[in-house]
Symmetry: C2
Subunit: 444 residues, 2 copies
């Protein structure tokens, strides 16, 4: 039984998908039963890396969705619209959808899931997070026995590439970004990557699956790497840490149990060098899932690229093809609740003032006796316990740089201490403030 | 719709499963629909870590399989028999099976799969490899678009614990083994772990899934760590490697395409310190899958233990429960081919004489001029190209130890060179011979 595939978009990922479908030999035998029947492109005349019959191509994506020969709609065009409308149109037509579009899913996931549940179709999104890394299906199908405590990950390849090079070369952010753009690792407009928005989209999706409820994307505190100073990367290294753009979703104690309170956030974070995520370099991604009773499991691999992402898209198509063999493809067949991954509780974001965490703070001070004592006193008076205070040499005479790493402290107390420190006579500025995970912390 | 679970075995893993089923809150809502209805134990009187109603327990496992209230049979008793017969009995009764029993699946997988296909029931085995790490389902459901080039892994926790301690402490194998036994990380009879049999069981299973055909378990070349000398661990470290018990299944060029030729093996292997698997320590496991087009993806986590293994067992139960909601549970419902993972091609093991690989060789020689030259000549005459030859200091006067690391060379040529070297006047013995992965290789 051949299954008709309609492709919306024939960019890097779309061409990768078409390439896999055209060369089934050596892959799972179900691949040979998938047939590309219609492809929406922006420009018919543009040269493409895959050869496709001209009759397959159209510039009207709606005709792809509506084509009765198309059984599964694959959306790899990106962007919010018309992607969202086309996904909803496919669902309304009772056609399952595979999409790699994290922006649409992070923002309209609830609307799309409701429509899919109503129509009884699957919307699968493995390629939306972590490129080729299987993470969506494992969260849905392999970890359901667990109470998930935390999902944390390096889930943006562009920023990880930049951070890896900053750490290896001691280079400045702007220089590495320019080079990454030249090499194609960063887009001409890098905002979504470097400001953390892409990672926030992805952690919203992972948290929604891990905790069984939609997470308000717009409310996720997000800080990128675009204001990160090479100096902090270097100081972190001297203290035994690497700086990574970490996306985290953590369960908080929740009452009542039907609502899960979550601390979800994206920011540059100091990881102790022995942390499982600390060795993830370049454009690779990794996601660490911590649950009871599984403990820590980690998924690692290429976070982007045509091949890896197409691998994930075709995996989703295969899953839909596979379950159709089991259920038939009639209208309103019941869904497998694991594969469909509907919501089963409400998720709310915690007020960040009440969260506790470790912090790295870099202060620029005048180089005079007693400053460290005054800073220590400010932290102490606010109830902020300190792991280490280290003074680093600077090149400008009369100035000093002091790096403080705190223990796990309440955010509100920490902010109060910072305000007091900023008002100190000898303190010129709070030059940097980064989250930190436990471990390391003294000069090695 | 509550689903009745019958448990065969209430040891560590069985108790872990019972514990999860008894505390569904905070886990996937499907867990609450699973009900433990019958449990086979060896001894009714033995105290257990979980409290179960006495009426659930029986010493007759067949009554668990036959109980009409049992919808899914979970085999966690271990051993070959009666586990195999009970699994087949459940299949014959049309009941899906979840098992953590790698020994049974590695040896009788083909028989069990044939019976399951005939009856149209699922036999799921996530817990059989990698403890809590999702690896079976990702191989079945997330990587089907790929031509798998290689699956390699650290898939035995006991040996990895021993090797990690040998490396960290410079300790001898026998001493660490004794300590591991005292601490419960190694069994009283450690043969299956330390001789590599357990890892061979598991790589047979992974290869069967990755390549879509049954792999002859008995034919897998298997070498354990029981004859590993602490000296080689130390020399490897000086050359930039760590020694791990690696299980590998690699695709070889195959004609005709319907038969996949594989190089499957288990042996202590030198990994360059930068290799993704090199940092996997203690009882953790990790599996690296390399495919086209996905590239390298790695799965990491706790390879054993009650909690992780129970997490994997319950994941399988949930998958069966999930697909039953989609298909109903009537007799002879068609199977999802991805979840069922039937064979789709024949796999044959390659003749190891024609394989190529890198080797680490330690030679004990007399400390006289010209020995290195003669050794180099022997390798050269056999067409074995060498990456490095290093002489290490020994404590006994007059003796020397020479370590050779070869490039990728044909096994037959390599054996021929070794025979010639053994016959050299200055060479006392070939003290060790280990496989090596590319990278590192000179004194650091």
């Amino acid at each position: 039984m051949t299954i008709g595939i309609g492709l919306l978009g024939l960019g890097t990922v779309g061409a990768g998908v078409a390439g896999i479908l055209a060369t089934p030999s050596g892959r799972h035998p179900l691949v040979a039963e998938l047939e590309l029947r219609r492809v929406a492109v922006r420009d018919l005349a543009r040269p493409r890396p895959v050869e496709l019959a001209a009759a397959l191509l159209t510039t009207d994506p709606e005709t792809v969705v509506d084509d009765p020969a198309v059984d599964i709609v694959v959306e790899v065009m990106g962007g919010l619209e018309p992607a969202r409308s086309l996904i909803l149109r496919a669902i309304a037509a009772g056609k399952p959808v595979v999409t790699a579009n994290k922006a649409v899913i992070a923002r309209y996931g609830e609307e799309i899931a409701a429509a899919a549940a109503e129509q009884g179709v699957y919307v699968l999104i493995e390629a939306a997070v972590g490129g080729g890394i299987p993470i969506i299906e494992p969260l849905k199908q392999s970890l359901g026995a667990n109470r998930i405590q935390r999902v944390s990950g390096i889930i943006n390849g562009t920023t990880n590439y930049i951070l890896s090079r900053m750490a290896a070369e001691g280079a400045a952010y702007a220089d590495v970004l320019a080079d990454a753009q030249r090499l194609g690792y960063a887009e001409a407009d890098p905002a979504a990557d470097v400001q953390g928005g892409d990672a926030a989209d992805k952690i919203a999706i992972l948290a929604g699956l891990a905790y069984g409820g939609s997470v308000p994307r717009a409310a996720i505190p997000t800080e990128g790497i675009d204001r990160l100073d090479a100096r902090d990367v270097a100081y972190a290294a001297q203290l035994g840490y690497v700086v990574k753009l970490l996306a985290v979703a953590q369960a908080m104690p929740s009452e009542p149990e039907s609502t899960q309170l979550l601390d979800v956030r994206v920011h540059p974070t100091l990881l102790p060098k022995a942390h499982p995520l600390a060795g993830v370099n370049g454009v690779n991604n990794a996601i660490l899932v911590e649950g009871d009773p599984v403990g820590q499991v980690m998924f690692y691999g290429p976070g982007a690229g045509a091949g890896p992402t197409a691998s994930a898209v075709v995996a989703d198509i295969l899953n839909i093809a596979g379950i159709r063999q089991a259920t038939g493809s009639g209208a309103k067949v019941p869904l497998d609740p694991l594969l469909a991954a509907g919501s089963w509780r409400a998720c709310r974001l915690v007020d960040s003032a009440v969260t506790t965490h470790r912090n790295y703070v870099r202060l620029r001070t005048s180089d005079e006796a007693g400053v460290i004592g005054k800073i220590g006193t400010c932290f102490g008076e606010a109830g902020v316990s300190i792991q280490s205070i280290v003074q680093f040499e600077t090149q400008s005479a009369g100035d000093a740089e002091i790096v403080v790493i705190t223990h796990d402290v309440c955010e509100a107390n920490f902010r109060q201490a910072l305000a007091a420190i900023q008002a100190l006579a000898g303190v010129q500025t709070v030059a940097a403030c980064l989250r930190t995970l436990k471990g390391a912390g003294s000069l090695s």
